[in-house]
Symmetry: C2
Subunit: 126 residues, 2 copies
DNA sequence: CTGGATCCTGCCCGATACTG
DNA sequence: CAGTATCGGGCAGGATCCAG
């Protein structure tokens, strides 16, 4: 075994670690529910139950799971009001807002090419 | 049973159909492999086996599956050269290129906030 | 109302083998 | 080389129940 690192230097290791982290984040973010949640939040502050209504078709479990994930990554901020019944509010952080901008781009793209895609599908299915 | 439509007019039906189509497209596109494939393609033209090497970690099956899906939606163009062994090349269409631009934004975002996210995770995990 | 924990089902996806 | 079909294990995700 070698004491020194392989191809050389800890910079390579750092780069590899950053890459794997980027991949991880990419996997977290590139999922339907996360994107829809962020898009629904926009610049508003919403409660859990409100989000449940906003994000069409999301289950209780998926919403909770993704919100925790987004909170962990620092994309949403979770504030608990010590009242009964409990009131918990979610809002996008600055990184979250930045991400939302790119998601807006994705939505724009979807609507712009809706027609192209529909006809392309029809042709393909024949 | 009613002969007339519910809330009225076929425009509502059109809107609902467009929405469901948009959701469908969103689900197709908001998936890790599709995004990575599009990003890898960029403005190049690549063969199946080349894509297999480019997109780190993708399986034969997932690559074929996603390529068919992208082709169906008209985001990639598939050209078969009638030689042996067969040579099949993939390239982004104009809608595909447009989508790639927004994905680039996503990648930029990822790298810009890599640090934020890492520290946020660390704090959260405590 | 928020959000865990648990069970259970269906499907995703990897491995493999087979055609052109 | 490119692509499809099949099988099987594992995990995603819905339903439900409970706790604070």
């Amino acid at each position: 075994m070698v004491t020194k690192q392989f191809s050389g230097s800890s910079e390579d290791a750092d780069l590899r670690r950053a890459d794997s982290l980027a991949r991880e984040i990419f996997s977290d973010v590139a999922n339907k529910w996360a994107l829809l949640i962020i898009e629904s939040l926009g610049e508003r502050t919403l409660r859990f139950s409100e989000l449940r209504n906003e994000v069409e078709g999301v289950s209780h479990k998926m919403l909770a799971q993704n919100l925790r994930m987004l909170e962990r990554n620092g994309l949403v901020e979770r504030t608990v009001h010590p009242v009964v019944p409990p009131r918990v509010e979610y809002t996008l952080t600055e990184p979250g807002q930045a991400l939302r901008v790119t998601i807006d781009g994705l939505c724009d793209w979807t609507h712009r090419y809706l027609g192209h895609i529909e006809t392309s599908r029809h042709r393909f299915d024949a």
